[in-house]
């Protein structure tokens, strides 16, 4: 069982509401769900869509073929009709979107149903969304009980009447489908339905927010920017419960400097932005490096350069994150491939940032931010939380204190100012152990050694190897990083029926997980493969370049996509197949 639904319409028509609601209904019934979104940089109008995949097994990418299109605008039909599977159907209301032209070569089943009429009958035209949601559930013959619960929660603030009329509207949609479309039946695997455990729905962006929360983040400063704003919204909603301060800065420069101030003052702190906003934070990053102030930066990539396609996805900022800022200092770069990784890497980011007093990046992108994944449970317990700062008694007990003291590990004691009679001094100029400006070569050398050369090997030891998925000794290895994990993994599943193929997925990218005798050697898998392909959602192959810079290894082939859209399963599998074919 594996269905795809696409809800299309203009911005402002509420397609996200329909999509989110359907995702919730199915996940509560225990199905696996995956959703992704495609929207323009505008608030009303244009053409957006929301795609949901429902299955009885783990799914983590969108597919090319659609089973149900819910068309709230004409574009949803003209642009996407060709994607409809042979068994598929298009739901729409011609009184809303006008007469639909005849379809092309092959006729697709269409159900022109009175969404508007039913909505108006039960309340008003806003309820078109609820009718459509009911209609989709009708196609699946899925009990409306859970939908009713959801409508209840959503509308309870608006009163009983609104809840009731929404439920009636949903029911009318449901019934209409059953009455008017005998062929509109998509069977659900019976054993997977009611019996199964309710699933949790988690988006990439919420997973980062939750990860920050679970890591004791207490300060978040940012300037709004897609696709990072969700983190700010999430944490702002938790301010009171968890003792967090969220500050909207006047610009990104202020954001990173505020976060550094808060961190200096003794709390875990974070900032988030997109590529263009991060471009403004680069000097602040260098300051974090020089002052050894812990900081977590969530960097949401979108199709660039400059403003680019601001609501779309790209893996275009990897080398920028790694090499940004003047001068040389250690940093850590993570790029999660799933919400689960987003959660755990956020936690690891906070831990390492403070342990080594370095800036840590979480690189994500619009795609992973907006996707919803289902989980049976979401384990928040194995979270690491150590307070690496010197506070209170422990701090006061010291006879002397030097913020940037030379130590064997390069890590100096991180005192919280005001908690003892010692003063905490740091400086963006090169400084001595106490933190005061210096000019001499000797101190400079020692500080570079302390800050960079001593810490770096220790940090390197914290980096996990890439995840390998596939059989042993694969003939073909595909590799990638960050948000393409889901589609690459499913592509491997898809192709491994015929091919000996494996996946290397990198989510801990810098310091690069260099092949070493100590670690299990992923590198041999790569080297022993007959054919290797690097897959990236960008135009120039940034990861492949990083790999070569770090290891000398060069991939045989590269697959790039840079139109601002994510890879879909069949598309990627097809591309891989084409390259294999050329072998």
């Amino acid at each position: 069982m594996d269905y795809s639904i696409k809800i299309g319409g203009e911005a402002g028509q509420g397609i996200q509401t329909i999509g989110d609601t359907l995702a919730k209904v199915f996940s509560r019934f225990g199905y696996h769900v995956f959703t992704h979104q495609d929207y323009e940089s505008r608030v009303r109008g244009g053409h957006n869509f929301y795609q949901i995949r429902i299955a009885d097994h783990l799914v983590m990418t969108s597919r090319e073929k659609i089973d149900i299109i819910v068309a709230l605008d004409l574009d949803s039909i003209t642009l996407h009709e060709k994607e409809v599977s042979p068994r598929g159907i298009i739901l729409y209301d011609s009184s809303l979107i006008g007469q639909v032209p005849m379809s092309g070569e092959q006729a697709v089943a269409r159900l022109d149903m009175p969404l508007l009429e039913l909505a108006t009958k039960h309340g008003n035209k806003i309820m078109v969304n609820t009718v459509a949601t009911g209609a989709v559930l009708g196609i699946f013959r899925l009990d409306l009980q859970i939908l009713a619960q959801i409508l209840e929660t959503t509308f309870q603030k608006k009163g009983r009447e609104v809840v009731e009329s929404n439920i009636q509207a949903a029911l009318s949609g449901y019934n209409h489908v059953i009455a008017h479309c005998k062929t509109c039946v998509f069977p659900l695997e019976p054993e997977t339905s009611a019996a199964k455990q309710t699933m949790m729905l988690m988006s990439g962006i919420d997973a980062i927010g939750l990860g920050a929360l679970s890591s004791g983040c207490k300060f978040y400063a940012a300037y709004p920017m897609t696709p990072s704003t969700g983190i700010m919204n999430y944490l702002a909603g938790k301010e009171k419960e968890f003792g967090i301060v969220v500050e909207q800065a006047e610009d990104e420069i202020a954001a990173i400097n505020m976060a550094l101030g808060a961190s200096f003052a003794g709390v875990r702190s974070m900032t988030g932005t997109a590529g263009g906003g991060f471009a403004l934070m680069v000097e602040g990053l260098s300051l974090a490096g020089m002052t050894e102030t812990p900081l977590v930066i969530a960097l949401g990539q979108r199709a660039a350069p400059a403003t680019g396609l601001p609501t779309r996805t790209e893996q275009g900022d990897l080398l920028f994150a790694i090499h940004s800022a003047h001068g040389e200092f250690p940093r850590i770069v993570f790029a999660p491939g799933t919400p689960e990784q987003a959660f755990s890497l956020t936690n690891k980011a906070f831990d390492l940032a403070e342990k080594y007093q370095v800036p840590v990046f979480l690189i994500f992108d619009q795609y992973i931010a907006d996707t919803l994944w289902t989980y049976k449970t979401f384990d928040v317990n194995p979270v690491v939380w150590n307070d690496y700062r010197l506070r209170g008694e422990e701090f006061a007990r010291l006879n002397t204190y030097k913020r940037h003291a030379f130590t064997e590990t390069g890590v100096s004691p991180l005192g919280v100012p005001g908690e003892a009679r010692h003063v905490v001094v740091t400086d963006s100029d090169e400084h001595d152990e106490e933190g005061h400006i210096i000019e001499d070569a000797e101190t400079r050398n020692k500080m570079v050694q302390k800050r960079l050369m001593r810490k770096l090997p220790l940090i390197r030891c914290e980096i996990k190897e890439p995840l390998y998925y596939g059989g042993s000794n694969p003939r073909i290895v595909i590799a990638g990083w960050g948000s393409t994990y889901g589609v690459m993994k499913e592509a491997v599943d898809f192709l491994s029926k015929k091919e000996s193929i494996g996946l290397l997925h990198f989510s801990e990218l810098y310091p690069f997980p260099s092949p070493s005798p100590l670690t299990q050697n992923y590198f041999s898998t790569l080297k022993n493969a007959q054919f290797t392909i690097c897959i990236e959602n960008n135009a120039t192959g940034q990861f492949a370049r990083l790999m070569r810079a770090e290891t000398g290894f060069e991939f045989h082939e590269k697959i790039h996509k840079y139109d601002g859209r994510p890879f879909l399963l069949e598309e990627l599998a097809g591309e891989i197949n084409a390259r294999i074919g050329r072998l």
Partner: protein, 283 residues
């Protein structure tokens, strides 16, 4: 009680005769007289001659980037509003590179004391005009003189309803100390602009130039009226007022944020046990 010796810092790298020495003296005496210990306050500074200031005394110090004192200071206060926080910056630092932060720090009304060492020049980079340089000043990179109108920080601050707006002069140490004390004791964002002769690069606005022009605002003057204050703020040229130009009683940001009203953020313990509950949001 702290004594002056407790504030001994690194030997200053300023030019002999620089106005910064007097400001340093005034500041040290001020904190000593107020009984504030070195560990009880933090100075955030930028980059410039003025910004070397915290190295020349003893205190918690974040000597950050050129122009970025105020966001750092804001972050510190939001994390720990029991910490007394100063931002020390040059005129280029604060009114040039950092102008945007100044505007918004005033709006936020974060309880930070901003002391601007206003020498009307870029000192450390060897003599380019700053936003407060006089029109017509000739420098190497301005062979025809400065064309931009001189920025009036006092007028700007009054327009932004800054909570405490004052001007001091490095040549009037006692008066300057009084202003420093008032700024510290004032609850709210304080801008204290300090006229500071740069004996090396600013050959126009010398000690003599200032001395001829400055006067102390008469005691009858009430800094509570904004229009009056604006009028006074516009005074510059033959007569330059020293003293508190404007003052209001706006609530400070730290007291408005519910989460920290009772306890500074840095003192609040992280309670991991509540996380499990939040998972309910996702099902």
């Amino acid at each position: 009680m702290p004594v002056l010796e407790d504030y001994k810092g690194q030997p200053p790298a300023w030019c002999p005769g620089c106005g910064n020495y007097s400001i340093l003296k005034a500041f040290k005496e001020t904190v000593v007289e107020l009984g504030i210990e070195p560990y009880q306050f933090t100075i955030v500074s930028g980059i410039g001659q003025a910004s070397k200031f915290p190295h020349y005394l003893k205190c918690n110090t974040f000597n950050g980037l050129h122009g970025r004192t105020l966001p750092v200071a804001t972050g510190i206060r939001l994390a720990n509003h029991e910490m007394l926080v100063f931002a020390v910056a040059g005129d280029g630092d604060c009114y040039g590179e950092g102008g945007n932060h100044l505007m918004h720090a005033m709006r936020r009304n974060i309880n930070v004391n901003l002391f601007v060492h206003d020498n009307q020049i870029y000192g450390l980079t060897k003599g380019q005009p700053s936003p407060t340089s006089l029109e017509g000043m000739v420098t190497k990179n301005h062979p025809f003189g400065v064309f931009s109108e001189q920025l009036n920080p006092m007028a700007l601050a009054v327009a932004l309803d800054c909570s405490f707006v004052a001007r001091g002069f490095a040549g009037e140490i006692e008066h300057l100390k009084e202003l420093m004390k008032s700024a510290i004791l004032h609850k709210g964002f304080s801008l204290l602009d300090i006229l500071q002769p740069c004996v090396t690069f600013n050959k126009i606005n010398t000690y003599e130039w200032y001395k001829k022009r400055v006067y102390k605002i008469e005691p009858e003057y009430s800094p509570d009226d904004r229009i009056n204050a604006f009028t006074r703020a516009l005074e510059w040229g033959d007569r330059i007022p020293l003293g508190v130009i404007y003052r209001n009683k706006r609530q400070i940001l730290e007291e408005r944020i519910p989460v920290i009203r009772d306890m500074p953020l840095v003192k609040q313990k992280f309670d991991a046990s509540k996380i499990e509950d939040t998972l309910r949001d996702f099902s």
